[in-house]
């Protein structure tokens, strides 16, 4: 089975890479808890888990970006350390990032060999050798790109091929793909899979990270599942099915863990008809009523966040109608939306949700400066009162109103994002990934809060790619895929299987 180009001498069943008890602690959260994992030459090993399960951290430990706090990495039978990405690459471990790490101004060949260009003694690039080597690497992947072409001119799929060509250039024996199909078309995905099979034939071990079940079953030989930084187990793909994997990913404590709103549903608050946004989503019909928690489930890139941003006025709407409290309105600006009582707690709390350098008190009142000021001047005491109130209600751990939110843990930061919108009771609260990257305790506190808010008569839309969260808190669920809403579930129809089927159905 071995190709001429590889220098591999191990039998197939001996692991090329073994991780033993890897632990990684970030301030406030144990990202990896004694994870062990082995990888055989020539296999495609899928790594699954929900957001925050620790997949990315594990891969970054492997690729030399993070250093583990405990545990061993054994590569080709030798215990190794990966102090830098460079060291990882030198020993044949290559991470292909979801956001490609290419320099658009450099040529294809230069990008493939980034940082390892052949030069003569004077530092002059040996372009002919570089281009020849790059062409050979590309050729072995079945690509006939001109190695001199600028990477900036390539499509995303081709850029990815350029990254994959590094596996040939650096003789990689372990290749990690992080969500490689997120921005590919079906044809491009098939090409990628052909390439992965090809790598496999050359005895390269592939780690494949994805959320998409159909892909996992199509491409992988074995599957390892992580949850909350802990290893849930490794199974042979052939002996497994979606149900088993889902159970491993989300555990069995669905009902005990979540609180669902049980109040009466009131009048409709928001209705969208045929809403569209160029390049993000189209034909979205949706309605949500007071007292209701509407779940919006879909994989990353399905257009959920874009939909929320369009309703809130951050993105331009290109088609469709918006009804607020039964009356048609023009697409609002964020200011107008907030004044109407339509609030969005955005997906990225560090980039969109909070001004990290500001104090907790100032962050809470930021959307409502007018309500917290008199004669253009801020009313500090009033602000502090509100801060103290929400600090109590949400049990925020902070040293005081002046502490910068940058110094708080993720969970406490997220509580500030919520406080920011709750302090002027809204009518509709859109929560985009409300519990991403925060610890379990804070998670259930936030889930309980969502239910409580709905019972008080708020309409709530929860956007999440964490299935148990959506299943656990929603009264009704819409699934979104490829920029469209493709199914609706309520009551007993809301099952994991139904949601999985809906979002992984081919479009």
């Amino acid at each position: 089975m071995r190709d001429a180009g590889t220098h591999y001498t191990q039998p197939l069943d001996k692991p090329v890479l073994k991780l033993d008890g890897i632990t990684k602690v970030f301030p406030g959260v144990k990202a990896l808890d004694a994870v062990s994992f082995d990888l055989r030459a020539g296999e495609v090993h899928a790594l699954m888990g929900e957001n925050g399960a620790g997949k990315s951290t594990l891969m970054k430990v492997l690729a030399g970006i993070h250093q583990p706090d405990a545990g061993r990495i054994v590569h080709n039978g030798v215990e190794v350390r990966m102090p830098t990405p460079l060291a990882a690459r030198a020993s044949g471990i290559l991470l292909i990032h979801q956001e490609l790490s290419l320099s658009p101004e450099l040529s294809i060949a230069e990008n493939i060999y980034l940082g390892a260009w052949p030069t003569n003694a004077l530092g002059i690039l040996r372009k002919r050798k570089l281009n020849r080597d790059a062409a050979a690497a590309l050729h072995s992947l079945g690509c006939d790109y001109n190695p001199r072409a600028r990477v900036g001119t390539l499509s995303i799929a081709r850029k990815q091929m350029v990254e994959i060509a590094r596996t040939q250039a650096f003789n990689a024996n372990v290749v990690i793909f992080d969500e490689p199909t997120a921005s590919l078309t079906d044809t491009e995905r098939d090409q990628l899979f052909a390439t992965i099979r090809d790598l496999q034939k050359r005895n390269v071990a592939v780690i494949y990270i994805s959320h998409k079940m159909d892909e996992i079953f199509q491409i992988s030989d074995r599957i390892t599942v992580l949850r909350d930084g802990k290893l849930q187990g490794t199974v042979d793909t052939a002996d497994s099915d979606i149900d088993q994997l889902t159970r491993m990913m989300i555990g069995r404590d669905l009902d005990s863990y979540f609180t669902r709103a049980t109040g009466q549903t009131g009048p409709e608050v928001l209705r969208l008809e045929g809403l569209g946004c160029e390049g993000c989503f189209k034909d979205v019909d949706l309605s949500v009523a007071a007292g209701e928690v509407l779940g919006l489930y879909g994989l990353i890139g399905a257009g959920r966040s874009e939909l929320a941003e369009a309703v809130f006025g951050i993105r331009k709407v290109s088609a469709g109608r918006i009804f607020w409290m039964g009356r048609e309105i023009t697409p609002p600006s964020p200011r107008k939306a907030i004044d109407m009582g339509l609030c969005l707690a955005p997906e990225s709390r560090k980039e969109q949700g909070l001004v990290l350098g500001m104090s907790g008190r100032d962050n809470i009142t930021l959307p409502h400066l007018r309500d917290f000021s008199r004669l253009l001047m801020m009313r500090r005491t009033h602000e502090t009162e509100v801060f103290e109130r929400y600090r109590g209600i949400l049990k925020i751990k902070t040293s005081g109103p002046d502490q910068r939110v940058a110094d708080l843990s993720g969970g406490n930061q997220q509580k500030f994002v919520l406080a920011k919108w709750l302090c002027k009771t809204p009518r509709l609260l859109i929560l985009d990934e409300p519990t991403r990257g925060i610890d379990v305790g804070s998670k259930s506190a936030i889930h309980a809060l969502i239910a409580e808010l709905a019972e008080q008569g708020l309409a709530v839309i929860v956007i999440s790619s964490e299935m148990p969260e959506v299943l656990g808190v929603s009264n009704r669920i819409l699934t979104m895929s490829d920029g469209r809403i493709n199914a609706e579930f309520s009551g007993a129809g809301m099952t994991e299987q139904a949601l999985i089927d809906a979002v992984s159905a081919p479009t």
């Binding site: 450099l106 002059i124 499509s155 799929a157 078309t185 044809t187 390049g279 993000c280 890139g301």
Partner: protein
């Protein structure tokens, strides 16, 4: 990431690829359009403009700012900036003349001037890299401090060369092209070659575009930046030495706000201020455009304020145009 991306990718790339490539070429070379426009405009407006002598003159006049702009381009591609080049130029100018007056030979004086420029550039780079401060702050300090050094050395007075044979050294012409212009053009070619053919040059783009990826790939980012700041200082000194030969005097205020003109030339050329994108051809285009506009307006006997107003206007226009075009092409592509 979004469906439209994938749709665009699914289409056969031929048709749109040609159009996109064409637009891309136009967008990347807009400065030559500006230059052509300026040349046509001034040729029709003044009979003295389109003459060999005048054009050679334009080149010589542009060469001084141009030399500063070469180093500035390298630093800007790295995503940094150097505000101290005008002062460094003035210090080299003062040293080249002053040291000769103190009894050193021209060769020694020139070497000392060049070494001082390179050292100050190195100092800027080292402080930027070691402290993690923004180069704008570091070199703003340099702008003030190095000018202080010039005054300290000249004691605030203009220095005049004692032996005027020194100024004859520069009287070398290749046809109508002056030595200064030749040095400028030669350095443009040399550094463009460095940018496109050496490891250091190619690394400049990687560092400016995505510093983390560059670091992960094993590029020694700090050393790389220090080299570029050093080159920038050295080129400023080259400019100062050539100016000393041309003028024979060193005003302590020489080269004031030249750093700003150099930045303007680079940006006008189309090199991106955020780093990762640019070339010395563009900078050449930017320098020539500035020089042509300046020269043309003077030929037309317009008062000097027109020049300042036009320069400011052109810069804003170029920036606005760039914004509109990039916006359009992005909208067309994704």
């Amino acid at each position: 990431m979004n469906p439209a991306d994938t749709n665009a990718g699914a289409q056969p790339e031929h048709h749109s690829a040609y159009r996109a490539a064409l637009i891309d070429i136009v967008l990347r070379n807009q400065i030559w359009g500006f230059l052509l426009l300026a040349v046509i405009l001034f040729s029709t407006a003044s009979p003295f403009f389109l003459t060999v002598n005048n054009l050679a003159n334009v080149l010589t006049q542009g060469a001084f700012i141009g030399l500063l702009a070469i180093g500035m381009t390298l630093v800007i591609i790295n995503g940094e900036i150097d505000l101290s080049v005008g002062a460094t130029m003035a210090l080299a100018l003062a040293l080249a003349i002053g040291l000769q007056n103190s009894g050193f030979g021209p060769g020694t004086a020139i070497l000392a001037a060049l070494a001082t420029g390179a050292f100050l550039g190195f100092l800027n780079g080292a402080v930027v890299v070691l402290s993690g401060m923004h180069s704008f702050v570091v070199t703003l300090g340099g702008l003030l401090g190095i000018r202080g050094l010039v005054f300290l050395y000249t004691e605030g007075d203009a220095l005049m060369i004692a032996d005027f044979t020194y100024t004859e050294l520069v009287e070398i012409y290749l046809g109508p092209i002056s030595l200064t212009a030749m040095v400028f053009l030669g350095l443009i070619v040399l550094f463009q070659w460095v940018l496109s053919n050496t490891r250091h040059g190619r690394e400049a783009f990687a560092v400016g575009d995505n510093i983390e990826a560059a670091r992960d790939a094993g590029i020694r980012v700090g050393r790389h930046k220090i080299i570029n700041f050093t080159l920038c200082g050295l080129l400023a000194a080259v400019c100062g030495v050539l100016l000393s030969m041309r003028m024979g005097t060193a005003e302590p205020q020489a080269g004031r706000i030249w750093e700003l003109w150099a930045i303007i030339a680079v940006v006008l050329g189309g090199t991106r201020l955020q780093g990762g994108y640019g070339s010395l051809w563009k900078t050449l285009g930017g320098v020539l455009t500035l020089a042509v506009v300046q020269n043309g307006l003077r030929l037309l006997n317009t008062p000097n304020y027109v020049e300042l107003i036009v320069m400011g206007g052109v810069l804003i226009l170029a920036l606005g145009l760039d914004r509109i075009l990039t916006y359009k092409i992005r909208a067309g592509r994704t």
